[in-house]
Subunit: 352 residues, 2 copies
Amino acid sequence: MPPANPAVDAAEVAALLDRGRTLSTPVLRAAVDRLAKPMDTVAAYHFGWIDALGRPADGDGGKAVRPALALLSAEVAGAPPETGVPGAVAVELVHNFSLLHDDLMDGDEQRRHRDTVWKVHGPAQAILVGDALFALANELLLELGTVEAGRATRRLTVATRKLIDGQAQDISYEHRERVTVEECLEMEGNKTGALLACSASIGAVLGGADDRTADALEAYGHHLGLAFQAVDDLLGIWGDPESTGKQTWSDLRQRKKSLPVVAALAAGGPASEQLGELLTADAKSQDFDSFSEEEFATRAALIEEAGGRDWTAEEARRQHTVAVGALDRVDMPARVRDQLTALADFVVVRKR
Amino acid sequence: MPPANPAVDAAEVAALLDRGRTLSTPVLRAAVDRLAKPMDTVAAYHFGWIDALGRPADGDGGKAVRPALALLSAEVAGAPPETGVPGAVAVELVHNFSLLHDDLMDGDEQRRHRDTVWKVHGPAQAILVGDALFALANELLLELGTVEAGRATRRLTVATRKLIDGQAQDISYEHRERVTVEECLEMEGNKTGALLACSASIGAVLGGADDRTADALEAYGHHLGLAFQAVDDLLGIWGDPESTGKQTWSDLRQRKKSLPVVAALAAGGPASEQLGELLTADAKSQDFDSFSEEEFATRAALIEEAGGRDWTAEEARRQHTVAVGALDRVDMPARVRDQLTALADFVVVRKR
């Protein structure tokens, strides 16, 4: 893992994430309650608030980096964190719209240790509830009825289109033997960067910030998203299953062309070539699903030997640096700047 | 068919539909061109601009009632018809987003005599391109950057949520033996009424009309949508295949619980009861797919005998009357009022 900044104050980051969750969850739940039956129940299942039988559950709502960013973003504009709440909720709704549709398109049966919505409630409900969450996101912002809300919705819409572009790229890359590092970064910028960029700016926009400020915050969020994804790609191969909750070599088992893989393949040299031959054979192999731990360990070792692991860790640090640097373009209270920096640090040192 | 108003000027209606198509299609095509590959191609196929092999095609873009309404709606507010164009295109994008997703959810393999997108390009592209068209609709409106555009987007978002609610109801009704007339009307109001309501008001909103005017135009469009759907339900059973391009007894073959059917079942009396018994048996029948023309003719005759056909024709007239009546609540040029009335007349006397 890249020890980006050893000075991360874990308690402060935990408090920021907690504040985001605490302020946005009631508004998110009230929004989901607006959905007609049975979509409200399907959405509540997806968010982990009830189980497949409809019994109340205490779901793992994820790390909640996006709501935390949206609230801090409002404070950049000198507004109270509460001003960012509709933005935080709208971003979460769009994020979950994309999860519902992506899980169906990708055929993924599990998310956060639970069966995915299409698996439990069928493909039609996954499509329908995804659509409804997307619409709800716009509704929630636009019913504020302000000029700022219109600007925020426009930025969210642009981010959503990038999200969709990224998923289209992800799908098309699956059918290709080789993906360049640039293509992989572009896809990750769309799939992860765009919505983090929006999270980091939407609160400021709702708080009346000008476009220059919003653009700088978007740059921070975009590069933070790329750093986040680089770390995710490292954890997807070398993460500790105890921490991540995923299988060992998780991304390798899914034949994901993640950053360490494409960087290793692009590096050249004996390990890179050997890896390329193995992965080409794997793509045609009938036995892939019964591969042993050692076979994945061999591939992971080749990726590391070819430099894919180091390159990705370095990339996380590079993106982290650019992200934090973008904050210099904005005038903001020192405390808010420190907190945005702490969140960026957290993203690159996290273990899950 | 309900001879709602014998004074429909066919040439004038054709000119209005043509104007809507002519002004909105180039903007729609430019919007679709913004989509990343391969979504642009998939969308162009859906709109009928290219065939499944990518060759240019001269697709049937449908009746284009919605764009015609959006342009007239701008004129209600005293704006030129061009003011309504972004609204017309946004509504068409949302309409086609819903077609892409609904065809997949319903497993429909044909639309306008062509294979549906999910059939040609796979389910993932149908989901993805649908999502992209929905996002594009909001983008197109919001990049106008005006307060009016924000209000228009908000109304479009509310209509989209109703569209989604209507599809959710439609799906849930499929699994039920009985659906009440009220439930059927509510579903049709959501699936057809909401977007026609938005079409009829969005141009006015973009042209600066106040909420009272927009609400009255929405009422006109909503009831027009219900009249439109009642006529559609009549054509779905008794339409001339030569005109509709559909099979004989089309809706009966699909076991659709359309208005004539639910009205006939609700009517009571010997024909109603006999129909109910037949449809209950049909739902369990293994031979349904090999039913003869006569078996469907028997069911159609029972629906008619029980009063379902007359009731639906009467309902189309009632909704038409309410729609046209709503125009009285708005001050507008006499020519525009006549044209909105002519469009309403056209909707109820059409044969396809």
